[in-house]
């Protein structure tokens, strides 16, 4: 955890910004944001599934705008989660405890994603292939499923850390109290 360049120092200062820390120090608040994030991903998947094919320009623009808004909010929330859980910082700027936390989060996320991908592979590929012709995977589900998988894969470590890290200790030297 040795900032070698001015840019490293800026990154560390931003990560330790008292305003940001006040906002995310409480585990309850982090968990609320994680739940909000999952709800937004579900909403995005539902919007993708609901988007009408064909029709007028207006019918195409409204769902597209709604989707853009949802994706914008999803990206904002996940960026904040990454900032607080220090996933936005390079590995060299973390101390040994933070590196261990990050490694554990990636390990858990990898295992969870492997399980989810296996389930999707089973349901989307194996079941339709080895079932009677009447059993088909609905093609309309492909886009929402892909969206959910991408969002899950990119955010699982941050969600795990945000959910499991305990409340931060108040700074003895600073004015902030949680």
């Amino acid at each position: 955890m040795n900032p070698e360049t001015p840019s490293d120092r800026v990154k560390l200062e931003r990560a330790d910004d008292p305003k940001l820390r006040r906002a995310w120090a409480s585990r309850a608040r982090r968990r609320r944001y994680t739940v909000l994030y999952v709800a937004l991903v579900i909403a995005g998947a539902a919007l993708l599934g609901w988007a009408p094919r064909g029709g007028g320009v207006l019918q195409a623009i409204v769902p597209m705008l709604a989707m853009a808004v949802v994706i914008g909010v999803v990206l904002f929330v996940i960026t904040q989660l990454n900032r607080f859980t220090r996933l936005s910082l390079p590995h060299r700027l973390l101390d040994e405890r933070q590196r261990a936390d990050r490694d554990a989060a990636h390990r858990v996320a990898h295992k969870a994603m492997a399980a989810v991908l296996m389930a999707v592979f089973f349901l989307a590929c194996l079941v339709p292939v080895y079932s009677p012709p009447s059993v088909v995977f609905p093609s309309g589900l492909a886009a929402p499923l892909l969206f959910t998988l991408v969002m899950l894969h990119t955010s699982a470590p941050a969600c795990y850390l945000a959910w499991t890290r305990p409340d931060e200790l108040p700074d003895e030297d600073g004015p902030d109290r949680f």
């Binding site: 101390d95 040994e96 405890r97 933070q98 305990p166 931060e168 700074d171 003895e172 030297d173």
Partner: protein, 89 residues
């Protein structure tokens, strides 16, 4: 003879219950050192000092030796596998 499965489960259980007790908070209070000052001297985040004091993180050998060196005491004065006796008991 215990099976490999139960051995693995026991090893995992032992790993999760391995606790290293420490007297960092006491030494820090005695010397009048803040968490942030200690963290800066050790090159770690000050929240990590909090995690160590609460027993929520067991340090690497390097960090344990650095902490002992900072307080100028042998490492066994700061860390132990057994709980430290409480003062007044």
């Amino acid at each position: 003879m215990p099976s490999e499965k139960s051995n693995g489960r026991r090893a995992r259980s032992a790993a999760t219950t391995e606790t290293i007790h420490n007297r960092i908070a006491v030494l820090r209070a005695e010397r009048g050192v803040s968490r942030r000052e200690l963290a800066e001297a050790l090159g770690v985040h000050y929240q990590t000092v909090g995690y160590l004091e609460r027993g929520e993180y067991s340090p690497s050998l390097h960090l344990a030796l650095s902490i002992a060196k900072y307080f100028e005491v042998p490492v066994e004065v700061v860390f132990s596998t057994e709980p430290f006796p409480r003062i007044g008991h």
